[in-house]
């Protein structure tokens, strides 16, 4: 499920300083937000290319990470460009509804294009960061940013525990699916509820066992960072 995490540990620049990588990310984001459009295009394609090379990821898989988010980017852009106006001439593909027109606002079109470019450039930069910086290194960045200790401790533990729950999640989900538990919408809702319940029970079970394990490891209230 977390394929990005796996790639992050195996990338070619995994040993670079995480702070440097964070600074490079920031630089990319600044370029995504600055006004010169061609520069964004350059950054977009070069960062994407570098990411594919450095993370040893196939183009197909790299693009697959965009599938999940593009619908929302598109939906938001539709929301920005579609408008209602009384002047037919200000719209592309006007549709008459009563005495007004529904259509795409001509004035908004360049802005929407720029927004899409800015969005995709920023996303590509964040993917670069995520794919070159294992989460363990990101914790170092959080530490360097002087975020509160408790928050970093909990983040660190959460990162570890996520994989325990993902294992459980996948096993339960698979077993349900193979017993036809997701064959229709109502079954899906029902099976999902059972899955949530079972995961919840594991929160408690894990907590109880971990309490014992912490004692065995002489835990005294703080996780070192």
């Amino acid at each position: 499920m977390l394929s990005i995490d796996k790639y992050a540990y195996e990338n070619r620049i995994v040993n670079w300083s995480p702070k440097l990588k964070a600074l490079l990310w920031l630089l990319g984001i600044i370029i995504a937000f600055q006004p010169i459009q061609w520069l964004k295009v350059v950054v977009l394609f070069s960062v994407a290319g570098v990411t594919i090379f450095v993370a040893r990821v196939s183009l197909k898989r790299y693009i697959s990470w965009f599938y999940a988010i593009l619908p929302f980017v598109l939906l938001s852009i539709v929301g920005i460009v579609v408008t209602v106006s009384s002047q037919r001439s200000s719209l592309i593909w006007p549709l008459r509804i009563g005495n007004v027109y529904l259509g795409i606002a001509k004035v908004m079109l360049p802005r929407a294009g720029q927004l899409a470019l800015q969005c995709v450039t920023a996303i590509v930069c964040t993917y670069w960061f995520a794919l070159t910086t294992p989460f363990i290194q990101i914790l170092q960045v959080l530490k360097a940013a002087h975020l509160p200790r408790v928050m970093i401790e909990v983040t660190m533990l959460m990162y570890r525990f996520i994989f325990i729950f993902i294992d459980a999640f996948e096993q339960i989900h698979r077993a349900q699916k193979l017993r036809f538990g997701y064959d229709s919408v109502d079954l899906m809702v029902h099976s999902s509820s059972i899955l949530a319940k079972m995961l919840f029970e594991q929160v408690i079970r894990n907590y109880e066992m971990m309490t014992k394990a912490l004692d065995a490891k002489l835990y005294n209230g703080d996780f070192y960072l």
Binding site: R61, I172, L178, D183, M198
Partner: protein
């Protein structure tokens, strides 16, 4: 019969977990087929390909000569033919009462209530756990839970049952019962494919073996042939069953199982 033709699978295009595997399961009257291999050899991936949970990157799976179709209907048909019981019973028992859990698949298939009832009773009876039917899962032993998990699959009435590590976590008694259970299933006409780290268990229960290593089939054959190749087993970090060891090292005859040994051995008499 299940047939794999040049089946390959990889998760990430980097490393092939299964690499051009071709085999025929269930030919020549094989009824309990053992898949051996060390951790990471690809056993689980093979199982998930067999039940359509993973789709081969290349090659194909044929069931009774027909290609598996990866459509909703095709997969549904496949899963009515091949059931799988996973290693961890706790993650495949969804209800708190035994009979409810066993009925899960039948409810999902929208069978009429009285048929569900009959089929659940029959399967529980076959597995000798009819007395557990109203019991809450949390008070069952590991061995009992394993049976409930198997019942939940058997109730579908599939021709094939895949068992992944059926003895893991069982105490010696549970292990003996599992051996008997498999014999019984076979007597009922069920076909079984199983994988286990317990070589003695595999040796005694299966009648045909495949040795999987680094995603390839390295050897196949009857227990007499496969376990005799000590070198190949060692290369794959597997060990010989003790019955084979005493045959090879002590020069005793090769016995098919313990009973065979203790009843027919010549030293005894």
């Amino acid at each position: 019969m299940i047939e794999l033709k040049h089946l390959s699978f990889s998760y990430d295009d980097k490393r092939k977990i299964l690499d051009d595997v071709s085999l025929k399961l269930g030919g020549d009257g094989h009824k309990v087929i053992g898949i051996m291999g060390q951790n990471g050899a690809g056993k689980s991936t093979l199982f998930l390909n067999l039940v359509g949970e993973l789709r081969p990157t290349s090659g194909e799976v044929l069931i009774d000569g027909k290609k598996v179709e990866y459509t909703k209907k095709g997969l549904r048909d496949l899963r009515r033919k091949i059931g799988i019981v996973f290693q961890n019973s706790d993650q495949q028992i969804f209800y708190s009462i035994v009979k409810d859990d066993v009925a899960f698949a039948l409810h999902n298939l929208k069978l009429p209530a009285n048929e569900i009832h009959q089929r659940v009773e029959r399967v529980l009876d076959e597995l000798n756990i009819l007395n557990l039917k109203d019991r809450p899962i949390q008070y069952l032993s590991g061995g009992q839970k394993k049976r409930v998990a198997i019942a939940g699959i058997m109730v579908i009435g599939s021709e094939w049952i895949l068992l992944d590590e059926p003895t893991s976590g069982l105490d010696p008694d549970g292990r003996i019962r599992m051996k008997k259970l498999i014999k019984k299933l076979v007597a009922n006409g069920q076909k079984i494919i199983l994988s286990s780290h317990d070589m003695d268990f595999m040796y005694e229960t299966c009648d045909y073996f495949y040795l999987l290593g680094k995603g390839k089939i390295l050897n196949e054959g009857t227990k007499q042939s496969v376990f005799n190749d000590e070198k190949l087993l060692e290369e794959n970090n597997l060990t010989q069953p003790w019955l084979v060891k005493i045959h090879q090292k002590l020069g005793l005859p090769l016995y098919a199982d313990e009973q065979d040994l203790f009843e027919n051995n010549s030293l005894n008499s």
